[in-house]
């Protein structure tokens, strides 16, 4: 609908005049499209700082859990003595009580939690671990691009859809590592910042005239693309956007970023890959249990994501939300009421085409001392690349996994079976 407006008024008229915007040229030349499909969207959310997976997706059924965390453990649903306990999922795992917003998603079969998942790298550096997760190449620092950008470079899900400047959008001030690379990405703090900062339209028209000269070089091409993008966005008019009745996003920066992702999806600008991140997970000191620092972060996180899911409604059939964090935290609480850098963590895959009845994925390695990684951390049983590979393949239709995750050749049979198809 809005795409048609864009084609008629913008790109197509230029095409007929021989002035094709360069993103159209790039698309025509550079892509082998794997399959015709309805436009699919993947939203990746990064919890920077290493979220404490054991208090996010609580293994209350493991007796070693409560023992390792005298003050920090979340009470099991059955013996909660008045305090808020974990929200039971399957009798073994539960959600942190501040994540009540996720329970309806679980009940509707939209939520696939994964435990003991993460990077095989032994690093406990935030920087290195985030780098590895975003490039998709654990223990290789030289990788120039992020895995989402490599996906963009090799594939598009929708042959019938016109190329769009908003194919990949990051709601961050700078392009994040995960989207660095040769494919075009729009990074912005907020939609309203995607505009020309001048008092009148005349200045914008003059600037546009400076760039639309028919020159084929990269500067003019990018400028032409940009003025197209401005028109697309204006036609879509996301500022007029009202979330679905009853949906209210948290007023937090994270909640507002997710609201804007929903705006772009509903505006039909052809969003295929979206990214946002949220910090505050590095809880070395006083992280709290059912209430406190981590609880507050989780409340904002889960309410924001749940609002996005509810707001998107039927569109969730074509949408997958993938959450990740660079590593988990120590099994035992430390001396300052917090936890230190650990190893394996937890992820959530949220979407409308999950496989089978709701269940928590990933083999549980156990928390007994002899079961821990290096004697202190949750051991890893699922490589994060197995999750990313499955989502990229079954949701987005990516084919060339060896380019997405070079050096990773685990077969599809090792995937968790999160998604159908």
């Amino acid at each position: 609908m809005h795409r048609r407006v864009f084609l008629k008024g913008g790109a197509l008229s230029l095409l007929t005049l021989g002035l094709s915007p360069s993103f159209l040229q790039r698309t025509a030349l550079g892509m082998s499209l794997p399959r015709a499909a309805r436009g699919k969207t993947l939203i990746v959310l990064f919890q920077r700082g290493a979220a404490d997976a054991l208090n996010v997706l609580v293994p209350f059924g493991d007796p070693a859990y409560a023992a390792a965390r005298p003050q920090l453990a979340i009470a099991s649903p059955a013996r909660r003595n008045g305090a808020l306990g974990a929200i039971d999922l399957d009798g073994f795992y539960g959600l942190h009580p501040a994540m009540a917003a996720f329970k309806p998603l679980w009940d509707q079969g939209l939520l696939a939690p994964i435990h003991a998942v993460g990077s095989p790298s032994a690093t406990r550096s935030h920087f290195d671990a985030q780098d590895y997760m975003e490039t998709g190449t654990p223990d290789r620092k030289g990788t120039a691009d992020g895995w989402l950008n490599r996906y963009l470079a090799v594939a598009g899900t929708c042959e019938a859809c016109p190329p769009t400047p908003f194919r990949a959008v990051s709601m961050t001030p700078q392009t994040p590592r995960i989207l660095e690379g040769t494919s075009a990405v729009v990074a912005m703090n907020a939609l309203e910042e995607f505009s020309i900062r001048s008092s009148g339209n005349a200045a914008e028209r003059r600037l546009e005239a400076l760039y639309r000269t028919g020159s084929a070089d990269v500067v003019h091409g990018s400028g032409t693309d940009m003025f197209e993008a401005l028109k697309v966005l204006r036609a879509a008019n996301p500022q007029q956007y009202q979330p679905r009745a009853g949906v209210s996003y948290p007023r937090s920066p994270f909640g507002q970023r997710l609201l804007q992702i929903a705006q772009l999806i509903k505006a039909g600008v052809g969003l295929e890959v979206a990214f946002a991140d949220v910090g505050g997970w590095d809880t070395h000191v006083n992280q709290g249990a059912a209430e406190g620092q981590l609880a507050n972060r989780l409340r904002d996180f889960s309410q924001s994501v749940a609002a996005l899911v509810t707001d998107l409604g039927d569109r969730m059939e074509d949408t997958v939300i993938l959450t990740c964090s660079e590593f988990g935290r120590t099994v035992r609480q430390n001396g300052t009421g917090g936890t230190d850098h650990g190893h394996a963590g937890a992820m959530f895959v949220i979407g409308g085409t999950l496989n089978g009845a709701p269940r928590v994925h990933g083999r549980w390695p156990g928390l007994a001392p002899e079961q821990l990684y290096e004697g202190r951390d949750l051991a890893l049983t699922t490589d994060f690349r197995a999750v990313f590979s499955e989502v990229a393949t079954r949701h987005l239709g990516a084919r060339d996994l060896s380019r997405l995750f070079p050096g990773y050749d685990a077969p599809a049979s090792s995937w968790l079976g999160l998604l159908s198809g």
Partner: protein, 539 residues
């Protein structure tokens, strides 16, 4: 344009005289012959050459620079830039910005990591920007920017930020125009790089022979068996620095080394660490964690037990390797000439690099005095990085950055936070990478913000040309802005848009996408358009 003519004739004359002089007594030297030939085969006009050198050996002209280069001549100005006398200038900068003399220990004490406040980082970025804008030694600033990017260190890796002030002041700057081996060695022993790429944590794998406890006379005492350190967790070999040393700092990714070479370089550099661990404290060699066994690196045998000297010998080997010469020459050409470096000039620059024992100044001289450098296709061929864009705009308008982090944030918002590139490869060096939908929007907005007086340290009113231009009639104003900010080198379309507000090409095509606009009103609008124009994005 008529005002240029008086300058052109003497310049041409100087150029001819210069050639005569150079081709006489030096003709016997083949290298000099090439250089002499270059002056006669420069494809760029005299005016283009002035503009060109001011955008390649400098971050664009400040008011008066064009006249100055014209009056002393392009070659004399380049020679001046290649031979800066920065000692007294260093003193001036240090007294203006006392931060430059701070050690990492002082910074760690003043701003404890637990407080998570790092005001010095914004200040350091602002100082780099200010020096790039104001320093008369522009080539030095260009090379400082180049080497900071080549030997990239990310401030956001935990404590790396504390090590960046000395990294800038004592590692990169002193050697930016010196010998590559000295620079490489200073980087290898810098707190910043040791920390960023983990070499400080790299120790001999268990079971490997290590040296005795004292550094002095370690070899004489013979080789001891590795003993687990009683403290902390012992990790063993960490290859990160060794790999990037080969791939990004010296030989290049196609440099012909193997994974075995990476491991053996890492082994040679075990024990190269920080005196006080994560607290910094400067470089120290710890023989007790150094893998003292024999190694083969790039086919050369490094005998057992040489201690720190072995790592130094590895750096010697790498710094003087032909692959390194080619790799560094290619990167310098990409910075100074074009995104697609002419192979013949790469070869000549690499030859200079090898023949002068990695003299950076002489390698740059070979590049910037070549016919390829002054070729027509090299003119305007580079897209400015965000840093180059901001610095060049500030220079053009004679701004004096206020030295606060607010100015540096302008560069960050354009996508190039200084010390903010996570991966060790540094920011991209080619135009494609800097140009996309969001980037061009931010650049256009930057021009508008500058013109609107909303960028700290830049005031249109204090631009000496502003008052003069404001008094002129419309056409002369347009010519003046084109001349001052774009060097006079604009397409007819751009001139027409600045003059009338509309683009004749688009009018002819009768597209409905661009309603006619009135001519821009006011000098500020003109300046905003000029800074946001495609031409200003290039250098």
């Amino acid at each position: 344009m008529p005002r240029l003519i008086p300058f052109v004739a003497p310049l041409l004359l100087l150029g001819v005289l210069g050639c005569r002089y150079a081709s006489g007594p030096l003709a016997a030297n083949p290298d000099r012959t090439i250089r002499a030939a270059s002056a006669t085969t420069r494809e760029q006009t005299a005016d283009e050459q002035v503009y060109h050198v001011l955008h390649r050996l400098a971050f664009g002209p400040r008011p008066g620079d064009v006249q100055r280069v014209r009056s002393i001549g392009v070659d004399a100005w380049m020679a001046e830039q290649l031979q800066p006398a920065p000692d007294s200038a260093q003193q001036r900068w240090r007294s203006r910005f006392p931060l430059l003399t701070a050690t990492s220990t002082e910074l760690l004490n003043a701003y404890p990591p637990t407080e998570r406040q790092y005001p010095f980082l914004g200040e350091l970025s602002a100082i780099r920007l200010t020096r790039a804008v104001r320093s008369p030694y522009q080539l030095e600033e260009v090379l400082v920017d180049f080497w900071h990017n080549h030997f990239n260190v990310f401030a956001g890796k935990d404590r790396a930020r504390y090590f960046l002030v000395p990294y800038d002041a004592r590692v990169i700057r002193p050697y930016a125009m010196g010998r590559f081996r000295d620079l490489l060695g200073a980087v290898a022993k810098s707190e910043a790089m040791l920390y960023y790429l983990d070499n400080w944590q790299s120790v001999a794998d268990s079971g490997r022979p290590v040296l005795g406890p004292s550094r002095r006379g370690a070899a004489a005492r013979g080789i001891a068996t590795a003993m687990p350190r009683p403290t902390a967790r012992r990790r063993g070999l960490n290859e990160n620095y060794a790999r990037e040393l080969l791939e990004l700092h010296t030989l290049g990714v196609d440099g012909g080394y193997t994974q075995e070479d990476v491991i053996n370089v890492a082994r040679a550099l075990t024990g190269w660490t920080l005196a006080q661990g994560a607290q910094g404290g400067g470089f120290v060699f710890r023989p007790t964690v150094h893998d003292a066994g024999e190694k083969i690196i790039l086919g050369r045998r490094f005998p057992a037990g040489r201690g720190q000297a072995e790592g130094d010998a590895v750096l010697d080997l790498l710094a003087r390797h032909p692959k390194t010469a080619t790799f560094i020459a290619t990167k310098l050409l990409r910075r100074f000439v074009s995104d697609t470096p002419p192979p013949a000039l790469v070869t000549r620059a690499a030859t200079t690099f090898l023949e002068t024992d990695g003299d950076i100044r002489e390698t740059v001289r070979t590049i910037v005095t070549s016919p390829e450098f002054f070729a027509r296709r090299a003119f305007h061929a580079k897209v400015k990085s965000p840093f180059e864009l901001v610095v060049s705009a500030m220079r053009a308008l004679d701004a004096d950055p206020d030295g606060t982090s607010r100015t540096a944030q302008v560069v960050s918002r354009l996508g190039q936070p200084l010390f903010g590139h996570q991966a060790p490869n540094g920011y991209p060096e080619t135009g494609e990478a800097w140009m996309n939908t969001g980037a061009i929007l931010n650049r256009i907005n930057f021009g508008l913000l500058v013109a609107g007086g909303r960028v700290p340290g830049v005031r249109l009113a204090s631009w000496p040309r502003a008052r003069e231009l404001a008094a002129l009639p419309r056409e002369a104003q347009v010519d003046g802005v084109i001349h001052e900010l774009l060097g006079g080198f604009v397409s007819p379309d751009t001139r027409e848009v600045l003059r009338t507000g509309t683009n004749p090409l688009l009018q002819r095509l009768a597209t409905d996408s661009l309603p006619a606009a009135d001519a821009p009103r006011g000098l500020a609008q003109l300046v905003g358009l000029a800074l946001g124009s495609p031409e200003f994005q290039r250098r």
